[in-house]
């Protein structure tokens, strides 16, 4: 009965509804983007009306929000944080730096394309994106969840070896617990 396909579908719809209206965000405040989060959350733009809420630790979070350029040193921590999050989990890349390197395109220590290292569900472009853009990004993520297309975590799990290869290329000293869920 529980494994019935139709009932599973209904369960999925309900679960997705809950998930998309309750996004706990872990804002990994790298770069200049961290300053855009407070206005997004507070009175003027009020992201809480979409059920978006800050989470303090990766264990509780659903969305990893990467707010700017990532140096190789920070990338290691971000990967660790992402792997500590529990399924289902989503990643939002925030600002040009995460998309193509932005103004740091020729720096010796910042990565340029985030989705080679982590499965990004939604990119928000701009340098910096305004809070409106951030909220638009969240709404886009919500519609992806509703359609069941936000499957970054699954992508990561399936292509783990490839991701690992990319990650290890920029992080020579790789000391991290196994990722096996």
């Amino acid at each position: 009965m529980m494994n019935d396909k139709n009932s599973q579908k209904i369960v999925d719809i309900i679960q997705n509804y809950a998930r998309l209206h309750s996004l706990f965000v872990l804002a990994y405040g790298t770069g200049c983007g961290a300053i855009e989060i407070p206005p997004t959350m507070t009175s003027r733009y009020d992201a809480e009306r979409f059920g978006i809420r800050g989470a303090a630790t990766p264990r509780q979070a659903d969305v990893l929000l990467i707010t700017g350029y990532l140096t190789t040193k920070t990338l290691k921590r971000v990967i660790r944080v992402y792997e500590q999050m529990q399924d289902p989990k989503y990643v939002i890349g925030f600002g040009s730096c995460t998309i193509n390197g932005g103004m740091y395109w020729d720096s010796y220590n910042t990565i340029k394309v985030l989705d080679k290292y982590l499965p990004v569900d939604v990119y928000i472009n701009g340098c910096m994106p305004r809070p409106e853009a951030v909220i638009a990004g969240f709404v886009k993520l919500q519609s992806l969840i509703r359609e069941g297309k936000a499957e970054g975590a699954k992508l990561y799990k399936d292509n783990l070896e490839q991701y690992r290869e990319n990650q290890k290329k920029v992080i020579p000293n790789w000391v991290m617990p196994e990722y096996n869920w």
């Binding site: 395109w105 020729d106 010796y108």
Partner: protein, 188 residues
């Protein structure tokens, strides 16, 4: 102020024979010394002449002369004067004395210079990694380090910005300034 400045210069010249002075207007005094003299002149300035405060240590890469120039900037809160003490190191073998016994905060600057320029300080006790993590190869702040090439080689590039122009090129075009050849090669 000028009398005090000249007095200081005289005292330093009398005590340190290798100290060469270059005059600047304002509250700035400038000495160039040999690298062996650095600890003693700094000690002397701190203890005898009241330059209590180490403002900054910085390094300039004179690639063409194959030398590093390390500059110590110290400040006297009493006389309201600052002293630049410069020294030159051989670029192939950049070694000098550690001065963090004189000012503890020198430690941080020295670690940074060790990591970014590869200057070795004798007796500097600190973990190898400071700002970079697991860096191998040429220190990145040296001018002969090819940043763009390194980035292109190490990191992925998203297609679509090949036609983007370097901002510096546009700026030089606009201002009509002639860029020297070495700058074209290294200053990217």
């Amino acid at each position: 102020m000028e009398e005090i400045k000249s007095k200081i210069i005289e005292r330093i010249k009398a005590n340190f024979s290798d100290a060469k002075n270059k005059s600047y207007p304002g509250d700035r005094i400038d000495f160039s010394v040999n690298k062996e003299t650095i600890p003693s002149i700094l000690f002397y300035l701190k203890d005898e002449m009241g330059f209590k405060h180490l403002s900054h240590i910085t390094c300039v890469d004179w690639l063409e002369e194959n030398e590093f120039e390390v500059i110590f900037i110290i400040w006297s809160p009493l006389e309201k004067l600052k002293v630049f003490v410069r020294t030159r190191l051989d670029r192939d073998n950049p070694v000098m004395d550690n001065i963090d016994v004189i000012w503890r905060q020198a430690h941080t600057y020295e670690r940074e210079m060790r990591e970014m320029f590869g200057i070795q300080f004798n007796g500097l006790e600190a973990p190898q990694d400071f700002l970079l993590e697991d860096w191998e190869g040429m220190p990145p702040m040296r001018r002969d380090f090819d940043t763009e090439g390194y980035a292109a080689e190490t990191f992925f590039e998203r297609p679509g910005r090949e036609d983007a122009k370097d901002v510096r090129e546009i700026l030089t075009e606009r201002s009509g300034e002639i860029v020297p050849d070495f700058a074209k090669k290294y200053s990217r």
